[in-house]
Assembly symmetry: C2
Homo-oligomer: 73 residues x 2
């Protein structure tokens, strides 16, 4: 579980990012990790309802929109 | 760990929200859970660098700004 790991591990969790749009209805939750000493990248990890975890690109407009949609719902 | 739980539990994780501003430098990660059958509320759970977990108010402007700051960094 990448979310549980992110609280304790001292390295980047993502080795790449998923580039295709994912509809918010498939997303169970989204974890945002700021960059820091453990990892120079901002990491956005979506957990889907089927249990899969996907790293998303923090700078992608559709990723920002999904996050906005979650907050505004 | 509220983040690990959020992937498997079928109820709301937050019983209230922390109302005071938290500087992003104290935040290790932020978990966003959309509302759904398990919980009618959008839940935003920040894990601080000291290990504490705080529920934040998704509609608070400072919470939105912190999330934006994490993504834009």
């Amino acid at each position: 579980n990448a979310q549980a790991r992110s609280a304790i591990e001292l390295r980047c969790q993502c080795i790449g990012t998923h580039s295709r749009f994912i509809h918010p209805k498939f997303i169970q939750n989204v974890n945002l990790s700021p960059s820091g000493p453990h990892c120079k990248n901002v990491e956005v990890i979506a957990t889907l309802k089927d249990g899969r975890e996907l790293c998303l690109e923090p700078t992608a407009p559709w990723v920002k929109l999904i996050i906005k949609a979650i907050l505004d719902k």
